[in-house]
Symmetry: C2
Subunit: 127 residues, 2 copies
């Protein structure tokens, strides 16, 4: 109990990076545009994706649907250059401030969040 | 196969809200500040948390650690008024653009993302 409390306190207040992977071995990663600040996409990282992102400066994720490591833009060329990484209080989520090489969404939209939820459904807000 | 492809296409291009809960029954929710655009926190929503958020206009989540429904700010008073909800391409993540009643992080910081990852550890970037 006290050990767990200490670890939790270290995670929150300390200067050590102690990523807390969930029971599937994943962190949540929110990608924002370094220039506009807009949220571009949300994805997940396992330990390998995080290590590759740190080593290369290019965003890598873990695809839950394909159960595979995924270098964002590997096929499309629309990679994400990571300018800064922010870490949350309990170290289970990251914000990656990035410079995108092209549209982030596989649909061609600048951001995956191109629709707004209204009472009667979704309205497109980005082209 | 074609059914799955159609459903996937509807989710991406359609105007119907068809939230895709993961195998734990959860969506990822990214909270941003409506005024500054900054990412304030990341959390998860089950179907009930989503319904309560839509009904009340105040952010509700599912706590994975406590395995309980959670009205953000219920204890602290630091609720989040939801101004707009954005939905991503495959409808498994939401951006909640909110007006916070106080500091969002339970540590008292404006945002949970108060530290930056550097080569040698974490550096505080928000008070």
């Amino acid at each position: 109990m006290s050990h767990s409390t200490d670890a939790s306190k270290d995670r929150e207040t300390g200067s050590n990076f102690m990523p807390k992977f969930d029971d599937r071995g994943l962190l949540t990663a929110v990608v924002t545009d370094s220039s506009s600040g807009e949220v571009l996409m949300v994805a997940f990282m396992n330990e390998e994706a995080l290590a590759l992102t740190q080593e290369t400066g290019v965003a890598h994720f873990w695809s839950r649907s394909r159960q595979a490591l995924w270098k964002k833009g590997e096929t499309s060329g629309n990679t994400l250059q990571v300018d800064e990484v922010l870490v949350d209080c309990d170290q289970d989520a990251l914000v990656l401030r990035c410079t995108p090489a092209g549209p982030t969404c596989h649909t061609g939209a600048v951001s995956c969040f191109y629709r707004k939820l209204e009472d009667d459904g979704l309205t497109r807000v980005l082209s």
